[in-house]
Structures are given as structure tokens and as C-alpha cells.
């Protein structure tokens, strides 16, 4: 709760700094505030008195997810110092909106009330619609913003309809009350099923699960790289935490489980297969993110005791690898005059061997090669799915993971192929730090897998 209040105030403070303060102070102030929020979140590990127990519940799962999201946001802010250096206007607004979005993410990981779920999703999304249009001169950025906004509003309408239907059946927004009502037989009510189906649609849109993924490549491509990194990591983590809480509270009625199963299979298939044909790095990352959504959906579908742990580990390691890669992309893109094709990575090894090595580690982690965190994460998901009896789906997911390795290796091959003229990469110390931290952590988490939610 105190972290929630702190981040809301921090956003306002950053806006004030934008008005009166020095532009250079923005990111440091934001980072200090985020570190404080991290400490405050962590003190909630042993739950004491719960404020507003009918609205939010900061249990261990939510504390873990919140800490992970704060860490990723700190990394993105560190990256932001260099990224926003040449930008004249609205820097404070960019930082503040990201902080606000993070506030919404906190609500998504901890809600016990459908009203809070709705507010959380909206607070998470509305800053993102704006941030996606952050490059005002770029048509692509405006298109991304508008597309995301329209489709997002459409998904929200479904989502709200679902909440209304659930309310109609159970006469409550409180998930505890809903749970009690469901135990007395409301779970087979058609209106309840329709309601949870609609809520699942709204949430699937946020995690970009097929068939609600159409926005994702265009928005990833059009949005500023830093915002894309934020979208691919924090937003995905929050949306999956929210999705899991919903599934955990309402249970998975067979009708909903079947829907999720179909979506999981489709997401795995489309994400991995379409990614094979991408030549733009950001679009590749978008489809890779869709593919990862498929694995995460499978963990939710299994709905076991270990699901929150697996989700946490998967999203966190995925987020670390993704942030690192987007920083590398920005550096390579600058060297290539704004080109975003995969070929800009060519000659990376010649230009900066350490950078190329870390890039390789991050990509291998996303691909799920042993000795990286991505492998442990995928392994946990497969074990979870097999334990819950989804053997065919798990086998299919393994095949899809193997397909996925191909397009990651394609990027690695570019990085290690000598170019005709070696690109000149300018790596600021902070960017180097972010990339190195990401690289080390994906290996470190593979050696010491976190096993914290219990």
C-alpha cells in the first residue's frame, strides 16, 4: 500500500521537476523514488494489517511481482537517461506516465475486487496509449498510439461487459464474495460463464494472446523503443499477474479452460511461426512476445500451486532479457541511422565483443537454451502443464519452442557475421551497465533459480 501511494506521489513530483527543475535530475529522482518503493514493497513480505481488504491484498505473490516490475522499471529509467538526452520537451511527462502506469500495474497484481482490476488495467493502459505516441513528428508513432487506443478501448468495452455480467450473477465485485457464491453453484450459470469469457478477452488483449494480438506488432514497431521495452516487460508481467488472480479466484470452469486451451495453442503457433518471417527487429520481438504469452498462458491454464511462482520467474527473466535487447537495439539503430532491420546487428562482434556476447546470452535465454534462465522458465512451465495433465499441449509447446530457437539464432548469426564496414557503436557507461546487468542476471537466475512464492 505504501509503495502504491509512493509511486502515485512520485509521478506528480516528477511532473513538478519537469516544470521547475533541471531536466538532468528527472531520471535520478525517479530512480531514487523507485528504489524507495522497492524497499517499501519488500517490507510487505510478511503481511501485517491489510488496508482495504475488500479492494486490494498485497500478499506474497503481489509483493514479488511488484518488486520485479520495479526492478525492471529502474533498468528502463537507467536506459532512459541516455535515451531521452537529446529530447527537449516532455521528458518529465514520459517518466511520470511510466510511473503512473506502474501504479496501475501494482493494482493488477494485488486486486481482490473487480473494480480494482478494471481501474488497474485502465491506469496501466492509458499512459501507454499516450507514451506510444511519444514521438510526435513520426507518423508511425501516432499510428501506433491511435491503433492501440482504439483497439484497447474496444477490449475494455468487452471487459467491462464481463464485469457487469459477473456482477449480475453474484451481486458483488468482491472476489471473495464471488468465490463463495460460485461454491454454491453459480459457476455453471451461463451469464457467469459469458462474463468470465468477456473478462478473459479483455485480459488476453493486454497480454497479446492470439486472436487478440493484431495490435502488438504495429504498436511495438511504432512506439519509441523505450516505451516498447516497457510495454513488453512491465505491462506483460502485470497483465499475467492480473490474469492469474482472476483465474485463481474464480477457478477455471471447463468452458473457460477450453477457451484458454485453444488460445494457448493458437498463440504458440502464430507467435512462433509468423516470427520466422520477420525482418524488422521490433516486429520480431513483438511476435516473440506473443509466443512467450503462449507459454505463460499454458502456466495459467495448468492453474496449480506452482503457477504464481512459474509466472513470476518466467516474466521476470523474460523482462530482463527483453530490456537488455532493446537497449542493444537502440545502440545498433543509432549506428545504422535509424534502421531497425535485423541486419543492423551485423558486425556487432567486431565492433564490441562484450556487447555481442551479452546479446547472444539474452537471445539464448529468450530461446530457452540450457544454462540460461529462459530454459529453466520454460522447463517449469512444461512440468506444470504435464503435471496438470496437458500432455499434448506441452508436447506441442516444446515443438514450438524448438521452432522459436531458429529466429533467435538468426539474430545471433547476424551479430557474429563480420560486416563490410564495422558499425561504430557509442555505448554510454549506463547503457553498458544495464546490458551487463541483464546479461549477468539471466545466467545467475539459471544457476540459482528463484523459488520464493510458497
Amino acid at each position: 500500500m505504501s509503495a502504491l501511494i509512493l509511486t502515485s506521489v512520485l509521478g506528480v513530483v516528477l511532473l513538478y521537476f519537469g516544470l521547475f527543475g533541471n531536466k538532468k535530475l528527472l531520471a535520478p529522482v525517479g530512480i531514487v523514488g523507485l528504489v524507495a518503493a522497492l524497499v517499501l514493497s519488500w517490507t510487505g513480505w510478511n503481511p501485517g494489517i491489510m488496508e482495504f481488504p475488500t479492494m486490494v491484498e498485497f500478499d506474497r505473490m503481489s509483493v514479488l511481482f511488484n518488486c520485479a516490475m520495479i526492478v525492471v522499471t529502474i533498468l528502463i529509467f537507467l536506459f532512459g537517461i541516455d535515451y531521452y538526452e537529446r529530447m527537449e520537451e516532455n521528458v518529465a511527462e514520459h517518466y511520470a506516465l511510466m510511473i503512473f502506469s506502474l501504479t496501475g500495474a501494482f493494482l493488477l497484481t494485488s486486486y481482490t475486487n473487480l473494480l480494482m482490476l478494471f481501474l488497474g488495467i485502465e491506469i496501466l493502459s492509458i499512459p501507454l496509449y499516450i507514451l506510444a505516441g511519444g514521438k510526435k513528428r513520426s507518423y508511425r508513432s501516432s499510428e501506433a498510439s491511435f491503433k492501440y487506443f482504439l483497439l484497447g478501448s474496444f477490449a475494455t468495452a468487452f471487459f467491462l461487459m464481463g464485469i457487469a455480467l459477473i456482477y449480475g450473477v453474484t451481486a458483488s465485485f468482491d472476489l471473495h464474495v464471488i468465490q463463495a457464491k460460485l461454491a454454491t453453484g453459480a459457476s455453471s450459470n451461463v451469464l457467469f460463464l459469458l462474463g468470465s469469457f468477456f473478462v478473459a478477452i479483455g485480459l488476453s488483449f493486454k497480454v497479446a494472446a492470439v486472436p487478440f494480438h493484431f495490435w502488438s506488432p504495429d504498436v511495438y514497431e511504432g512506439a519509441p523503443t523505450l516505451v516498447t521495452a516497457f510495454m513488453a516487460t512491465v505491462v506483460k508481467t502485470a497483465a499475467f499477474a492480473g490474469f492469474y488472480r482472476f483465474v485463481q479466484m474464480t477457478g477455471l470452469p471447463p468452458a473457460l479452460a477450453n477457451t484458454l486451451l485453444v488460445m494457448t495453442v493458437l498463440t504458440l503457433l502464430v507467435g512462433n511461426v509468423v516470427a520466422l518471417r520477420q525482418s524488422q527487429f521490433k516486429r520480431l520481438m513483438a511476435y516473440s512476445s506473443i509466443a512467450h504469452s503462449g507459454f505463460l498462458l499454458m502456466a495459467i491454464l495448468a492453474n496449480g500451486v506452482m503457477t504464481p511462482n512459474t509466472l513470476f520467474y518466467y516474466t521476470f527473466t523474460y523482462a530482463l532479457a527483453t530490456v537488455g535487447l532493446f537497449v542493444v537495439l537502440t545502440l545498433a539503430k543509432r549506428a545504422a541511422n535509424g534502421n531497425e532491420a535485423i541486419t543492423i546487428f551485423r558486425g556487432l562482434f567486431r565492433a564490441n565483443p562484450w556487447l555481442a556476447f551479452v546479446t547472444m546470452l539474452l537471445l539464448l535465454s529468450l530461446a530457452g537454451i540450457p544454462l540460461t534462465a529462459g530454459f529453466i522458465a520454460k522447463y517449469q512451465v512444461f512440468m506444470l502443464a504435464i503435471g496438470a495433465g496437458f500432455i499434448k499441449t506441452a508436447v506441442f509447446a516444446v515443438v514450438m519452442a524448438l521452432v522459436g530457437i531458429y529466429y533467435y539464432v538468426l539474430v545471433i548469426r547476424e551479430a557474429f557475421t563480420p560486416a563490410e564496414e564495422t558499425p561504430v557503436l557509442v555505448v554510454s557507461p549506463l547503457n553498458w551497465l544495464v546490458i551487463t546487468l541483464c546479461g549477468i542476471s539471466v545466467v545467475a537466475f539459471a544457476v540459482w533459480p528463484l523459488n520464493l512464492v510458497g
Binding site: E88, F100, I126, P127, G133, G168, T170, V190, L191
Partner: protein
């Protein structure tokens, strides 16, 4: 009472259909106003007077006037109407039809709709709304300020004119 409900329900459905089917955007907006008014009628039937009044003031009054202004400013006419390709139309029909089928299939066995809450005569008065807002729903009430703040920041950021330099 019951007949009033059917009356309002019929108006809302017909006007909502007119919103999407009307050729001219102005007609659409006017149909939407009728739809909002009939929904306000539903609120009164449900004993939520405060909500009904707020609904009329905010939606029918403020938001729809804004809508009309925007439409007038855009100056829509035949030439600017977007051309929809045949494929888009077919895709839309297929998607809509599939969704309709899903809904029909889901509700095929019939719906059991029963009133869950007994009617409470005092529920819709301002005092009770205030009590609910500041006691039971204090946290969502406060948290929504973050939402509005970020929306305002966004409106300023996107709407502000950039300096000619740079």
C-alpha cells in the same frame, strides 16, 4: 412499472441500432442522445435518481455536445467517408456472425435471471451514494485520480504545440 421498463428498453435498443446504422454522423449522435436518455429512464426505474441526473448532465449534456462539436469541426461529407473494401465487409460480417453464434450457443439452454438483491428504497439517494463512495469505495475513488491525472497529462502532452526550433 413493467410496461415502463419495456417502453424504455425498446427505445434504448432501437436508438442504439440507429446509432450504428444512421448514414449521417449527426443523426447518429442524436440517436445516441435518445439512447442515453432512455437509459437514464432505466436508472429512475431502478430507484437511482442521483445516477440518472448525473448521467443526463454528464453524458447527454457535456459529452454529446463535445461529440457534436467535433463532428462539425471535422466537416464530414460524402467525399471524406472512408471507402470500405469488399474484403473488409466480408470479414466484418463473418466475425460478427461468429460472435453472434457464440453468444447464441452460450445462451441456448436459456438464461436464469433472478433478482439477487432485494429492492432497497433508499439506495439511490445522494447521501447513500456519498456514503458508499467515501466509505466502501474510498480506495477506488482515490486511485481513479491517478487515472484522470495521467489522462490529463497525456492530453496536454499530445495537444501542446511543439516549439518551432529543434
Amino acid at each position: 412499472m413493467q410496461y415502463l421498463f419495456y417502453f424504455f428498453a425498446a427505445i434504448s435498443i432501437i436508438s442504439a441500432l440507429m446509432v450504428v446504422s444512421a448514414r449521417s454522423p449527426i443523426n447518429s449522435v442524436i440517436a445516441l442522445i435518445v439512447c442515453f436518455l432512455s437509459i437514464a429512464g432505466h436508472y429512475i426505474l431502478l430507484n437511482a435518481q442521483f445516477l440518472a441526473v448525473v448521467h443526463i448532465i454528464v453524458y447527454t449534456g457535456a459529452i454529446m455536445v463535445l461529440f457534436l462539436f467535433v463532428i462539425m469541426l471535422l466537416n464530414l461529407n460524402q467525399r471524406t467517408e472512408p471507402q470500405k473494401k469488399l474484403m473488409t465487409r466480408i470479414a466484418a460480417v463473418v466475425a460478427g456472425g461468429a460472435f453472434l453464434l457464440t453468444l447464441l450457443g452460450a445462451t441456448r439452454q436459456g438464461l436464469q435471471i433472478a433478482a439477487v438483491n432485494p429492492e432497497d428504497a433508499s439506495v439511490g439517494l445522494v447521501g447513500h451514494v456519498g456514503m458508499a463512495l467515501f466509505k466502501d469505495y474510498l480506495l477506488p475513488f482515490e486511485v481513479s485520480s491517478v487515472l484522470f491525472l495521467s489522462a490529463m497529462v497525456g492530453a496536454m502532452m499530445l495537444g501542446k504545440k511543439e516549439k518551432a526550433t529543434a
